[in-house]
Amino acid sequence: MKKKPKKKAAEDKQNTLAELLKKHGAQIYDDLDKGNFPKFSIPSRSVSNIVYDKKIRQYILGTNTAVRSSRNTSQLRAFTQLMWLAFFANRLTGQKKSSTLRDVYYSSQAFEVDFEDQSESDNIIVDLEAVLSSPRESFHVFPEERSSVFGDLTIEYTVPGYEGKKTNLSDHPDGYAIGPSLTSSEFTDTSAEVVIAIEKGGLFTRFVEEQVDKKFKAIIVDTGGQAPRSTRTLLKRLHEELSLPVVILTDGDVYGEHIAMVIKSGSANAAHLRELTVPDAKWVGVWATDIEKYKLPTIPMTESDIKRCHDLLKDPRYQEGIWKKELEVFLKIKRKAELEAFSKYGLTNITDKYLPQKLEIAKSL
């Protein structure tokens, strides 16, 4: 059964962004032309302005905004940097070129816009995200780290030189890197019924070998630890454009639980963005309760694991359901288990026994 996704979703987004950039540019152009010092407001990203929105189940920015004025000499530099970044983003998207955070830092030097260091330019990038309410991937600034995807999904490239060209993501057994061209492609066709996000590359390979994609009609995504934002964007698109449920498998520890939570509801750092979350995603394991249930080999939790547990218990997102329950069990048993622990029962135990049970449970979560 093939699903027919909405067409041209990626392209529409690009056009909206370009218009937004043009609108801001025109506003500033007019100000300068009249001899006024331009300014604009940016949602404040200070801790006091980050609030949890129960309705959309993620952290968002409050109503506080900071005015950045080019008249104020202490803000003038940052204002210019932001303008340059908008200008640069406009060129990137217009020319369909991609870059990285580090690229941006070095590119600035060609325009006499001096950033002290990369952290300063990274910060301005987040400012532009906040102004445009779009993740940096939308203006073609991509993370260095790459995660992978494998499964029956046909995509159509939009990047220059590949326009119209199609690929099926099950053609290469190592999977496809989730890079700029994949992220900006249109989804044309899939037979998958579920997306399985898995924390570790090793298990991703096992899943491909064991043909989990075919057995469970799944698209398998390797998050490579904490999921990069391009990966989270991909998961969101798979969920929204193809209406696929997303399940997440992580190590059985507090960090694994949080990897799942970030995919589901984002992070406080990205409170200014709303396109990175999959609120319906489900964490299916490894749970703390699984450790006893499956008699998994364990290692003791470290002090920082325990501290992290206590911290998360204060987070509004961990106040109910399995999120709260599993944290409490971790604190009780003070032990953790990795995904590989299932190998104790044979290499395919995880795909043969554990995964089917968990996918079943997911339906009732």
């Binding site: 950039l21 043009k22 540019g25 025109a26 500033i28 152009y29 104020n72 340059w84 908008a86």
Partner: protein
């Protein structure tokens, strides 16, 4: 215990020889520096006193340049001052405790002892004579080569010659053991700072390495010179009172030939030899026209019952008013003779008045500054003395009581500052201008004030920026036109400067800031004998604070104006750098061809906006 222990008096020279550390001649480094100071200060004082704009030339030459320090140096200081009378030169430079500066007024040195100490030190360490060249009239110069006889405290003249010159002045040259390698910095600092506080003088220094330091006059007018004044009651002690009584009260007149001539003249008996009774008759007739010393001689004659010839062969030894006895030495009989005085006699009362001295009120009004008859009477009541009590009759206990009273009585007027010689605001300002070439300069002279009966005046200057280096605040301390170079840490000026919260005056970090502080007083309260730091008397500290406060306020307003101007320039630079970039970027973003017209935004003077 030795029973042969002997006691002998030592001469002042011997005393100083044994205690030379006290006077700053403890080691070759310190000694060289002290010697320089003593000679330069003597020259400046001598010129100041005569109203001469000083030219002081100092040189230090190594006797053998190859030798390592410490070694022998020849120190020569030459000035254009009044010079010293030829016959005074041996005493002035060849004995200790011979000086001319014993009056009560502000001067650099107190008694002029230091120069002799330096000569003494030179002689001890090198056994070479001092060479003094002096000309008082600008025509004839006397040149002396002398050694000191330490035990006898007498000069030994090795050579004395005269020659013709064209300028008056004094030149002193000594050979002494010194360490210029170590003392050099201090000596150069001393010369530099002395020139700063003496802008009306030219001071030059040729150092042993051939370096020449020249500081020429900045101004050609002399600050008004101080006057010698009577002491203030608050500044008195028992010993001073005792001395004042001694030298005013009365002296037993020396009945020598000069005095007898004077007596004869006043009586109109210049050439006549009359008998005793005839003389006394004449005396009674002329009494009202006679001067005081003659009256005393006549009163004595009335009891001695002598004529002039007999009188010329006697010396009065003691006048004992209490026991009404008069004792004299008769040269003819070579013996001491006592006679009774008739207390009912007119002459006895005259003599008694003289010997017992003036009344307390008269003593206070005549011998102290700023004490009038009313104050004197009030004081007598306060200190429980009869106003008419003769001071000559006071016992030791009464003298102590009188001294305590003088020190503690609050109704005396403040001390007279006319004995002080501050530099003045304008000379100080000109001196600082020349030395520091600052962007900002302010000076202030506070009104006269007093501590413990000693008047003082604070002068202060503050300079900022310009050619001053940004190595942090530098404080130059002066007292009576002498730079204070050592022991900065414990000085009251430093304390006041350090207690100031400079950030309140917009002075931050290591500012290019110089403070010059000058304390003028008849007695500067030094903490130590080395005369390098001033003790923190509350009155002085208060005046220093007020002076610094008024200056730092002015500095503060300069700093904020400067800050505003700097900020405006900085703003303009920033706008010029960034606005064109913004224009470039937004032009492309907006999809326009031509850049917006922003030029006026960076050429016009920007409006100050509060930084938020």
């Amino acid at each position: 215990m030795s029973s042969k222990e002997t006691f002998s008096q030592i001469s002042p020279s011997e005393f100083f020889y044994r205690n030379r550390d006290l006077a700053g001649f403890s080691n070759p480094t310190r000694s060289l520096y002290t010697a320089v100071r003593e000679f330069v200060e003597n020259s400046l004082d001598a010129c100041d006193q005569k109203g001469i704009l000083a030219d002081v030339h100092m040189s230090i030459k190594a006797v053998d340049a190859e030798k390592p320090d410490p070694k022998q140096y020849i120190l020569t200081v030459r000035d254009n001052g009044p010079g010293i009378e030829s016959n005074h030169v041996p005493l002035a430079f060849g004995t200790v405790l011979y000086g001319s500066k014993f009056g009560l007024k502000q001067a650099r040195g107190m008694f002029g002892l230091g120069a002799t100490m330096a000569i003494l030190y030179g002689q001890i360490t090198t056994n070479k004579p001092v060479i003094v060249k002096s000309s008082t009239d600008g025509k004839i110069q006397d040149e002396y080569e002398m050694l000191l006889d330490i035990q006898k405290n007498k000069p030994v003249i090795l050579k004395h010659e005269t020659k013709e010159v064209s300028k008056s002045g004094l030149s002193v040259s000594i050979c002494l053991e010194g360490d210029y390698a170590k003392a050099g910095t201090k000596i150069r600092d001393y010369v530099y700072q002395t020139s700063l506080i003496t802008p009306y003088a030219t001071i030059t220094f040729d150092d042993p390495k051939g370096e020449k330091y020249r500081y020429t006059k900045v101004i050609r007018t002399m600050p008004p010179s101080p006057t010698i004044i009577r002491p203030h009651p608050h500044g008195i002690d028992v010993e001073t009172i005792r001395r004042m009584l001694l030298d005013t009260n009365y002296q037993i007149p020396a009945v020598d030939n000069n005095m007898i001539l004077k007596v004869r003249k006043e009586l109109g008996l210049a050439n006549k030899n009359l008998s005793h009774s005839e003389i006394m008759d004449k005396t009674q007739k002329k009494w009202k026209t006679l001067t005081r010393p003659v009256r005393i001689v006549m009163a004595l004659m009335s009891f001695l019952k002598m004529d002039f010839e007999k009188l010329s062969k006697t010396t009065i030894e003691e006048i004992d008013i209490g026991n009404k006895k008069l004792t004299y030495w008769d040269f003819g009989e070579s013996q001491s003779i006592s006679i009774d005085m008739d207390p009912e006699s007119f002459y006895y009362k005259q003599l008694a008045n003289t010997v017992q001295g003036e009344t307390l009120t008269s003593f206070l009004t005549k011998r102290f500054q700023r004490v009038g008859p009313t104050t004197a009477l009030k004081f007598a009541e306060y200190a429980k003395f009869k106003p008419e009590q003769r001071i000559g009759t006071m016992t030791n206990q009464e003298l102590v009581k009188l001294t305590d009273g003088l020190q503690s009585f609050d109704d005396f007027m403040a001390p007279d500052p006319s004995c002080l010689a501050p530099l003045g605001e304008s000379p100080l300002k000109k001196g600082m201008e020349r030395f520091f070439e600052p962007d900002f300069l302010e000076v202030v002279q506070r009104g006269a004030s007093a501590y413990s009966g000693f008047p003082f005046v604070i002068e202060m200057g503050i300079a900022y920026g310009g050619k001053i280096s940004s190595r942090g605040m530098k404080v130059y301390r002066f007292a009576n036109r002498i730079p204070l170079l050592y022991d900065e840490g414990s000085d009251v000026v430093l304390k006041v400067v350090n207690d100031t919260d400079w950030s309140r005056y917009k002075v931050k970090g290591d500012p290019p800031l110089v403070i010059v502080s000058h304390i003028c007083s008849t007695r500067v309260p030094y903490k130590t004998v080395g005369k390098e730091n001033v003790a923190d008397r509350p009155e002085i500290e208060r005046e220093l604070k007020l002076a610094l406060l008024s200056l730092s306020r002015k500095l503060s307003s300069f700093m904020s104006k400067r800050g505003q101007a700097e900020a405006a320039i900085k703003r303009k630079n920033l706008y010029s750098k960034y606005i064109p970039l913004i224009a470039q970027f937004c032009t492309e973003l907006a999809g326009k061809k031509k850049e917006p017209n922003y030029k006026k935004m960076i050429t016009e003077e920007p409006i100050v906006e509060e930084e938020t």
